[in-house]
Structure formats: C-alpha cells, structure tokens
C-alpha cells in the first residue's frame, strides 16, 4: 500500500508511539498533581512547549495545548470575539478556509461583528489587491490559513498582516497552520501573527492533540470552563500522553533538517511523471513555484471523476483523497476549487495527493505509473 493522504492524517513516528506508551503504562500521573512523579510529567510537558515554541518564534508560555486544530481555531476566533466591545467591527477570512474557521467565524455575526471574505486568484492564493479594499480600520481580526489543505497554495501571511496593520494597528491576525506547521516556515513575530493553530497528527504525531500559540498581550475568553488548566484558557485534565507524543513528533521533525527538500523532491518527481499524462492539470501554484507547499499536489484528470479515480487507485493499492478528506463525504463541489474558477466538472475531477516523511521516491514512480494506467482505463468509459 502506498499512502498518499498525509494531509488527512499521517502515520505516527515509532518514537511517538513509544513516548505515549511509556506515558500511559508508567508515567500516567496527572501533571497537575503535587507529588514528584506528576511534577516529572509536567516538566516533560514544559519541554514540549519549548520545542514547539522554538518552531514558531514564540515563547514557552505562549503555547496552549488543545485537542487539535479545530478546537484551537474555535478558541482563537470565538475567544477573541468575546473580548471585543463597540460596534461596526468586522472579521475577515479567506474564501478557502477550512470549516473549522469558516463555520466558526460565521458564529461571531451573532455578536454583531460583520464577516468579510477575501477572494483568491486562479492560483488559489489570496488576492492582496482585493484584500486592500476589504480590510479597513474597523477590521478586528484577519484569519487566513498558512497552506491550503486542498491545493497546497502557501498564503501570503506576512504581506497580509502588514497590510492589515497598516489599516488598523490594533488588528489581530490568526493563522490556521494545520497544513503548514513544520513543512512551511513560520515565525509569529516576524510575520505578524498573533494566534497560530496547529495539529499533532499532521506531523506524524498523535490525533487528539494540538496547540494554539497566542502571543503575549492577546486576551481571550475561555470557551471551556473547569479546573483552570492552561492559565484558565483551556480547562480539562492534560492529555499528557498525546502532548508528549506531539513533543516527540516535533523533535523528530526538527532533527530532520532536510525534510522540506525531501518532500519537495518527491512532489516534483511525481508531478514530472504525471504531467506527461494526457489531460492532466495541476490546481494551485505550479509545483516548482516558491508558494507551492512541498507536500500537497492537487491534480485534475480530464474527463475522469476524482471519486472514481480515488476508488480505482485504492484498488491498485494507492490511497489518495478527493478534495479534502473532511469535506469529501459531503460530495459537494469544493468551494476552494470553485473559488479558483474551476468549472463544476473540473473540480469534480480532482484528486489530492499529499506526502509525508514515510514516503519514498520509489513510491512516487509506482504511484505515477498506477495513475497513468488508471486514467487511461477510466477515460474509455466516459459518459457519452
């Protein structure tokens, strides 16, 4: 089996599983307890905070552990909205946000905050010129994903933040970094990011754990109340095994300094083979472009439905996804691809390939060969 759906989730590193195993079998103590074994776990958790903070240009005490990307996005958007007073404010997000953002941001309308949407261009990148007209002095929050989960387009976060601060120096910037963290660089200070959401299981860590990094000075209203963990912002017993697993994943990713080049080399190899197939098109920036993430490739096969392609590839032992995995059950045409100007039929013909560090060059060749074969076979049976 060749697993090419790493944007849905990744296989955890063995070292991650081992770290979690130890934490469940032996060091199972509640990190908030007062005795030494518990304090030891707490200390290990602090080490994880430092590791993660270092990847973001943030500080240890700016890292909040959550259950994952969705919760982090919810806390950032709703938690910040609830601190605001005054009327006439607006929140701005891109047209291609993950539902964890796009659905959540709709909820602030009830608080009297207007929601505005930034259009994207045909390459799937936020249109900065349009952004200059949409963001104004009343914009309180700009939320934009770091990397599109559907096309791999890297968004111009730094430019967007600068633009927004030019209009309103007090604006906050939130970035959903679930698809970007540790595969595309992020420095919150330099790039002007106030809140950054990430998820453990997209970087070979465990599911059910994530982070919201919140820069000092950003006030949030907790969305979960209880025992007061995480400076009262996220109550609930620490998911210590998952947090330590996440820390281990970050450490192992960091040890592999060439990881982005490895991923990009595989992506380029795959695209080189695929681009030779008749009627294949890439969605989003060209794979060799600087703003194309190293691990995501969205391609359309002319006249072949993405769903059928995915099923057939599964039969050939290659696992990919149509659109994004969270949305692909819904069987509606991807909003991202439509926003990029694809017709319904083109969007319908899309397959998303996403790479991880367990993939190999040989797998790229094998997968490309299978896709070539399948595309040729399926093209025979188009609707007449």
């Amino acid at each position: 089996m060749i697993y090419l759906d790493n944007s849905a989730t990744t296989r955890p590193f063995d070292s991650v599983i081992d770290a979690m195993d130890v934490c469940m079998r032996e060091t199972y103590f509640n990190p908030s307890a007062a005795y030494k074994p518990a304090v030891d776990v707490d200390r290990e958790m602090r080490a994880c905070r430092r590791l993660i903070a270092a990847q973001l240009g943030a500080q240890e005490d700016e890292i909040l552990f959550t259950s994952g990307g969705t919760e982090s996005d919810n806390l950032a958007i709703l938690g910040y909205a609830e601190t605001l007073h005054g009327s006439g404010l607006n929140f701005v997000c891109s047209a291609i946000e993950h539902p964890a953002v796009s659905e959540t941001i709709r909820r602030v309308e009830k608080l009297g905050i207007e929601v505005r949407v930034l259009p994207i261009d045909r390459r799937g990148v936020v249109d900065l010129q349009a952004a200059g007209e949409i963001i104004d002095e009343n914009t309180a929050l700009v939320s934009c994903m770091q990397v599109s989960n559907e096309t791999g387009a890297i968004q111009p976060i730094e430019a967007l933040s600068a633009l927004a601060h030019g209009k309103n120096p007090k604006v906050r910037v939130h970035v959903d970094g679930v698809q970007g963290f540790m595969r595309v660089p992020m420095h919150m200070g330099r790039m002007g990011v106030d809140m950054y959401a990430l998820s453990g299981h997209k970087i070979h860590g465990p599911k059910g754990v994530g982070v919201l990094a919140v820069r000092k000075g950003v006030r949030l209203v907790p969305q979960t109340t209880g025992g007061g963990q995480e400076k009262n912002l996220r109550s609930g017993t620490y998911n210590a095994p998952a947090i330590l697993g996440l820390g281990r994943a970050v450490a192992q990713m960091a040890e592999n300094g060439d990881r982005m080049e490895q991923l990009r080399a595989m992506k380029l190899r795959l695209w080189q083979r695929l681009s030779a197939i008749d009627g294949v098109r890439v969605n989003g920036p060209a794979p060799e472009d600087a703003d194309s993430a190293p691990h995501i490739l969205s391609v359309s096969f002319d006249g072949v439905r993405g769903e059928v392609m995915r099923n057939a590839l599964e039969g050939a032992g290659v696992l990919v996804s149509t659109g994004s995995a969270c949305a692909s059950h819904k069987q509606k045409v991807s909003a991202t691809l439509r926003a990029m100007g694809l017709t319904g039929e083109q969007a319908d013909g899309t397959v998303r390939i996403s790479l991880g560090l367990f993939n190999t060059m040989d797998e790229m060749d094998e997968a490309a060969a299978q896709m070539e074969k399948t595309a040729a076979l399926l093209a025979r049976y188009r609707r007449r």
Binding site: N311, Y381, R384
Partner: protein, 382 residues
C-alpha cells in the same frame, strides 16, 4: 410480586390447526430477541411473558421488533388472593399519571370470587379514593389500567405498539435486491414482516462506487436483521457487466439491460440460498426504469415471482416507513450506488421488449453472469 413483560400477539390468533407451529416460532423469536438481556420467556393462556431481564427498556425495544408481536406492556405479576393488595398496587401505578383513566379487567380464572365488572368498579373506586387528582372517563380515558386475573394477577398501564406481522420463517424465504437507496430496505422490511426470511443481493461497481458505499449497504442489512435475524448478503461485482453494456448497447436501453442482468443474477443466487421469490423497491413511474413497460421488461428474464411492496407508494410514504424502520438515516448517506457514469441522458420510458432483447444480443450473457457469480462475496449479517 415482580415485574414482567406481557407480550400480545396479533394475526397468529387467526390461525386454525397450524397455530401451535406459528406460536412456537414466535416464542423462539422472542427468546432470541431477549437473549442479550437474559430474559426468561414462556407462553401461557394466550400471552407470551418475559421475566428476569437485566434491562426493561432494552427488552421492550427488542421484543417490539419481533414480527408477530402486536404490543408489549411492562406489568406487575402478583398473588391474587388479596384484592386489597391488587387495588393498592393499581393505585400506586397510577400515582404519577394525570388526567382521566379507566380500569379494564379480564378474568380467565372463573373461580375467582369477583367477576370482571365488579373488579373494574371496585378497583376504580379504590384508585379514585387514593389518587384524588385523577378522574374516570370510560369512553376516552387518557390511561387504561388493565387487571388480568389468571393463575396470578397481572397489572399493566403502559403499552408499546410492536411491528405486528407474522413470525419470521413461517412463510418461506425471498431474496432482496438491496441498492443502498431508501426504497429497497423498506421493501425488504414489508415482505419480511409477513414472516418471510430474507437474503440480500447488492451490486458493487468498484471503482465507480466506493468501499463506503458497500459499507453503507451492509449497515442497511444489519438494521433489517434487527427485525428479521441473521441473513446473507451477496456482494456481486458488477463493473464489467456495466462497462460491456455501456460499450455495446444503445444508450437509451442501458439502464434497462442493466436491470435485467441484476434480476437474472439475483434469481440464480436466490435459488442457491433456498429463496423462492425476489423483492425489489420499485414503485411505478418513480424513474424511467420503473414504468410499467420497463417493469415488464425486467420481469420477463426471471421465472420467480417478483414482489414489489412499494409499487403503489409515493416517495413520501416510503420515506415515512424508512424513518419508522430506522433505515432512513443510513440510506441518506451520500455515497453513490448506481454510478452516474453509466446513466443514460435519455433512457427509454416505453421500451419494446423485442428491441431490448435485440439490443442485448451483442453481450455474452452467460459468460458475464458466470464471472459475476464467481466473483461474488458473501457476508453474514446480524
């Protein structure tokens, strides 16, 4: 004194000399149904009783899904010697009720010193005295408390209506063509309700339909099996047949020819499984392949009777049934079952049999069917 379930049965009553056979089947199925909650089941004087279960609500839910059961009531079983004690228990059971009530009495023990009208009058008076917020309404009461005097006394107030029908396995076996849509599970349920055992056939068009589509069909079969017990699901690989039809036959007949292949294969599998009829979810005129001419065209390739219990139902009626049975939610999952790649733009609605037969001639029917049967996967469900 203890809690039991009082299980009433419906149509089985109408049976003459065969009644013991039907009753035995029914009792067996009730036993199977309560196995997981460890219920003890026995038959006595025209009622089935269940006792010693670990979870009453679950036992009621399970028993009310047994075909042949008309209704289920939780009841108090107690000694009948002290009528005062019976009245006190009745009053206790009515304490939390509001509005109007009436007492219904049945006496199968004719030695009992009071007759039914007397029991009703006396117990009613007692309840009125002890639960003063209730009043009597003999015509349209909000609650009926039933007092039955048998070997022991049984008191019951609440009643859960069950599925009725005939005990499973008393009317043979039929093979359901299960698509994953809304109609076919309803059709299967309606026939199974008449005591007919089921097996299912599903046509799988990988890669045009996904693993999830198959999983969905198995889940529908599992829901049906809650009513009709274990069954076999035959998953037939259908892609090759669809592709050949698509390549070699006129487009306006492709759906129809596909239906004919489905019927032929289903009949073969049905015979293998010991079934004597086919069941489909078709309804007149719902889609092009379900016009009267089209149904005639699909029927002519099989010799078994084809049951179509939804044939006269509107879509809304079928949906209502599906919701009641519990298959609607699963049926609504958006996985394709019959792929749109193969759906013609303008299917024939009034096909002539001769033309369809001729259109089919280019296909090697026997070889295609043999290969499909050869590749069939059998899944036991329930």
């Amino acid at each position: 004194m203890r809690e039991v379930l009082l299980v009433r049965y419906g149509e089985v009553f109408l049976k003459g000399q065969n009644r013991p056979f039907f009753l035995r089947k029914l009792v067996d199925h009730v036993k199977e149904a309560v196995q997981e909650v460890h219920g003890h089941v026995w038959l006595s004087e025209g009622r089935i009783y269940v006792s010693d279960y670990t979870d009453q609500d679950e036992a009621i839910r399970r028993v009310s899904r047994v075909f042949g059961v008309h209704s289920v009531s939780p009841a108090i079983e107690m000694e009948k010697d002290s009528f005062e004690a019976i009245c006190a228990q009745a009053a206790k059971m009515m304490e939390k009720k509001t509005g109007t009530f009436k007492v219904l009495a049945k006496r199968s023990d004719k030695q009992y010193p009071m007759d039914s009208p007397t029991i009703m009058r006396e117990a009613g008076g007692y309840i009125l005295d002890h639960v003063p917020h209730l009043s009597v309404d003999v015509n349209h009461p909000d609650h009926e408390i039933t007092i039955e005097i048998r070997k022991l006394a049984y008191l019951s107030v609440d009643r859960t209506m069950a599925v009725s029908g005939m005990p499973m396995g008393t009317n043979g076996k039929a093979c359901l063509l299960l698509s994953g849509g809304i109609d076919s599970p309803v059709a299967g349920f309606m026939i199974a309700k008449r005591g007919v055992e089921l097996c299912c056939v599903h046509y799988h068009s990988f890669p045009y339909t996904s693993e999830r589509a198959k999983e969905k069909v198995l889940e529908l079969a599992r829901i049906l099996s809650e009513y009709c017990g274990k069954m076999r699901v035959y998953i037939v690989p259908f892609t090759e047949i669809q592709m050949q039809i698509h390549e070699k036959c006129p487009e306006n007949f492709t759906t129809l020819i596909m239906r004919r292949y489905m019927m032929r294969i289903a009949e073969i599998l049905a015979k293998k499984d010991g079934a004597q009829a086919l069941i489909t979810g078709e309804s007149i005129g719902q889609v092009a392949s379900q016009t009267m001419e089209a149904l005639g065209c699909t029927d002519e390739v099989v010799s078994m009777p084809v049951f179509r219990p939804c044939v006269g139902m509107d879509k809304s009626e079928i949906i209502e049934r599906a919701e009641k049975i519990g298959t609607m939610e699963t049926s609504s999952l958006p996985y394709e079952d019959c792929c749109t790649v193969f759906t013609p733009k303008h299917p024939a609605t009034h096909p002539r049999k001769e033309l369809v037969r001729r259109a089919e001639e280019k296909l090697d029917t026997q070889a295609l069917i043999d290969a499909a049967i050869e590749g069939t996967e059998i899944v036991e469900v329930g």
